[in-house]
């Protein structure tokens, strides 16, 4: 039984065959001329069926896109700051998309505060070639937030302790 929250109510629930396709491609799409044909052969179904299922998952946002994910460290984006902001709850839906629109922001979310230890409710992951770069980006965000800025901080990652992709159990 699959349960969706309101934001991800796509009207489409993946089934057993979709799951198999996801499991087969979670480490990547085959790098062969006809990747869907290759997947079809592995599952004993037609390439048409495979393509239709991928297209449907794309249409419903189950798959965001079929794309290359760069390792940003190797591309020279070595400074990665999680910027966090305390903004009024009634302003956040207006500010969030504006901050998400910056090219240097890869993720932007509204998350819960944990008062008094954690007053921040708006998270924006900022990438730069250096920490100076990130500081410039923070100033740009700060300009957008203006008087709604009730405090902010930046947390740099110093160590990756674990990193695995999405994994579906068999």
């Amino acid at each position: 039984m699959l349960v969706y929250d309101s934001q991800s109510d796509t009207g489409y629930q993946i089934n057993a065959l979709d799951r198999k396709l996801i499991q087969l491609t979670q480490s990547g799409l085959p790098l062969v001329s006809q990747p869907y044909q290759e997947l079809a052969q592995q599952l004993g179904i037609t390439a048409c069926e495979v393509k239709a299922r991928f297209q449907r998952m794309l249409d419903h946002g189950v798959i965001r896109r079929i794309a290359a994910v760069p390792n940003h460290y190797s591309l020279g984006f070595r400074a990665n700051g999680m910027t966090v902001w305390n903004v009024p709850d009634n302003r956040i839906s207006d500010l969030g998309p504006k901050i998400g629109a910056f090219e240097f922001v890869s993720h932007c979310y509204h998350r819960p505060r944990h008062l008094p230890d954690w007053p921040y409710n708006l998270f924006a992951m900022v990438h730069g070639h250096s920490r100076d770069d990130v500081q410039d980006h923070i100033r740009a965000i700060s300009d957008v937030i203006g008087n709604d800025n009730h405090g902010s901080d930046v947390l740099y990652s110093t160590r990756i302790l674990k990193k695995t992709g999405l994994r579906l159990a068999d």
Binding site: L2, V3, Y4, Q7, S8, I14, I22, T25, S27, G28, L29, L31, K51, F54, Q55, M57, H60, V62, I63, R64, R65, I66, A67, A68, V69, P70, N71, H72, Y73, L75, M82, I92, P97, G100, A101, E103, S106, H107, C108, Y109, H110, R111, P112, H114, D117, W118, F123, H127, L155, Y156, S157, T158, R159, I160, L161, K162, K163, T164, G165, L166
Partner: protein, 164 residues
Amino acid sequence: MPAAQVNSRQTIQDKFELDQTDRRIINRLQDGMPVCDQPYLLVADELGIQEHELLSRLQAMLDNKVLSRFGPMFHAERLGGGLALAAMCIPETEFDHVAAQVNELPEIAHNYQRTHKFNMWFVIATEQKSDVERVASQIESTTGYPVYNMPKIEEYYVGLRFPV
């Protein structure tokens, strides 16, 4: 996974040189590839290169870890699972020990050390939405430290667009 092992991943590709064609491939393929019989041929034509060259360059960039991945990017919640960012405040002397305890759980997808009193940040990804709370409680009882659960309330933007 031991932290040292993971760290070494980050430096491997320092010496891998990207040429202009690699950069165009990365930029083009961050936007997404259509679903069709020969998608690589289609993209290669757009870029004015041969299909086999696109495939071999993609393979090389994956091998050299310039690309973390190439393929469908799944929207975890829309697969029906649970997903939450969570943070902990761990004293320096206990940090590696607690990190190992947390990382041992298969539901922990990413875990980063960060420069803050809240110094450990990880993603809990579960098959069932209801399991996120269970995993958080399990971490609290195993480690003896509170887990600050910060599931997203609203998403404004997710995407990686690194012009290279």
